[in-house]
């Protein structure tokens, strides 16, 4: 006789019959979910694809994170996890309210803060420039077009007079202390984006300037590594003379 509910219900009926028989025989049966029976999935089959992926990924994540933190604590060159890393125009940072006070810039970023066990860490060489945010030519041009940033020319005044990016202020990095009283009053907003450039990618003046400014509390200091040669070669606007 066809069970009630059609052929799809047959599995359920059979299961119920077997369960009743097991009960009368005194045998304990593992419970089976009805959807497993309808899909003809054998008992004890593997969990769903997504569930399994998430569970395994979570296990791996927890294991790795725990070991990483432990290793970081024990390793002599471990870093301070609570230290605020350099703040920039990050996607997630931009979602938060920007706060000027106490902000740390990339150029001032110290991977090993005041912890005795990491005091022996070598400081980066000036040429490595891993601690400054670099801008490409297109990035610099976009900011120039939007007039959203202040350009600082870190080259000597003679070279600045020969040609510079329109609007750029001359701030010779090698004479920082001498140039600072004239230029720093023109940079009152420490949250404003500042772009330093010099002779090009082989020049460290812009990096030095960026680091000094970051130490003074300027938050968004970037370096246009291509610098003056790349800007000039691209045929972008230039200006000569002492005026910005």
């Amino acid at each position: 006789m066809e069970p009630h509910g059609g052929p799809d219900r047959r599995g359920l009926t059979e299961s119920r019959d077997r369960r009743d028989k097991a009960k009368t025989d005194g045998v304990t049966m593992a419970p089976r979910r009805s959807q497993d029976i309808l899909k003809k999935v054998p008992p004890g089959s593997r969990p769903l694809f997504w569930k399994k992926s998430f569970r395994q990924a979570w296990d791996l994540l927890l294991f790795s994170a725990a070991l990483a933190v432990l290793f970081n604590l024990l390793f002599p060159y471990g870093i301070e996890l609570k230290t605020p890393a350099p703040k920039g125009h990050g996607l997630m940072d931009s979602l938060k309210t920007r706060r000027a006070s106490g902000a740390v810039s990339y150029a001032g970023f110290k991977p090993f803060p005041d912890r005795p066990r990491v005091s022996a860490t070598p400081t980066p060489l000036p040429g490595e420039a891993e601690d400054v945010v670099r801008l490409s030519l297109s990035g610099a041009k976009n900011r120039f077009d939007r007039n959203s940033s202040i350009f600082l020319d870190a080259r000597p005044p003679e070279e600045y007079k020969e040609g510079h990016i329109p609007g750029a202020l001359n701030f010779y990095a090698d004479d920082f202390d001498q140039a600072a009283p004239q230029v720093l009053p023109l940079l009152p907003d420490k949250n404003k984006e500042i772009i330093a450039y010099c002779h090009g990618s082989g020049c460290e003046l812009s990096i030095l300037l960026a680091r000094r400014l970051a130490n003074l509390g300027y938050v968004h200091v970037k370096v246009f590594f291509g610098g003056w040669p790349q800007w000039k070669a691209a045929g972008y606007p230039i200006r000569s003379g002492e005026e910005p």
Binding site: F54, R55, D59, L61, G88, R134, L135, C203
Partner: protein
């Protein structure tokens, strides 16, 4: 040091840089994906080993390659959290307070996920993490490039002089495709653990 000139930190690529460069890796990944496709849709009579399930072997190959990629990418970063944190920070995507934690955890996550993938232990979870990592890397690189930020990828070597380009994003997307296959493949050979 006239005019403060120094050696170019980006120029001067080494042989290793060139071999592990984006074009080479993109090409190698494309070849692997084409091999996988050939094993999947190719006629059975062209299959080299008669006793071997071509589809399963291709899935295994991709899984192992993904594993070695992750392990290879993590080795340089494991003991160099400070430098990697700087690299993560330079992307300017992550909240600044999370950067040190990411710099510490991500290399270990890459290492263990890579080992799991290569050995076939917790394969689905490791492949899922691989996909998530590649997605995050591709997105972060795209974000940085779109905002005109010039950075070293620091993907395989934190001392690499190679600047990230859109080709690097393409490379990550191709890796993502490989990881997706490793994630969704039903069974693979040489899996030590629960597949």
């Amino acid at each position: 040091m006239e005019g403060g000139r120094i050696s170019h930190p980006i120029g001067g690529r080494t042989v290793i840089d060139k071999l592990a460069g984006d074009p080479s890796l993109c090409l190698a990944t494309l070849v692997l994906l084409l091999l996988w496709l050939a094993a999947r849709i190719g006629p059975r009579k062209f299959r080299v080993f008669p006793g071997l399930d071509g589809e399963k072997a291709a899935d295994t190959l991709l899984r192992v390659v993904c594993g070695f990629l992750l392990v290879g990418a993590s080795l340089d970063k494991l003991g160099n959290a400070a430098k990697f944190s700087e690299a993560v920070g330079n992307y300017q995507v992550l909240a600044s307070s999370l950067v040190p934690l990411a710099g510490v955890v991500i290399p270990w996550l890459e290492f263990f996920a890579g080992i799991s993938l290569a050995l076939g232990v917790k394969r689905r979870g490791a492949a899922f993490l691989f996909c998530v990592l590649m997605l995050v890397y591709a997105f972060s690189l795209s974000w940085a490039l779109a905002h005109g930020i010039e950075l070293n990828c620091s993907c395989f070597d934190s001392d690499s002089n190679e600047t990230a380009t859109w080709l690097t994003v393409l490379r990550d997307v191709l890796f993502l495709a490989m990881g997706f296959i490793a994630w969704t493949s039903p069974k693979t050979y040489a899996a030590l653990g629960d597949d």
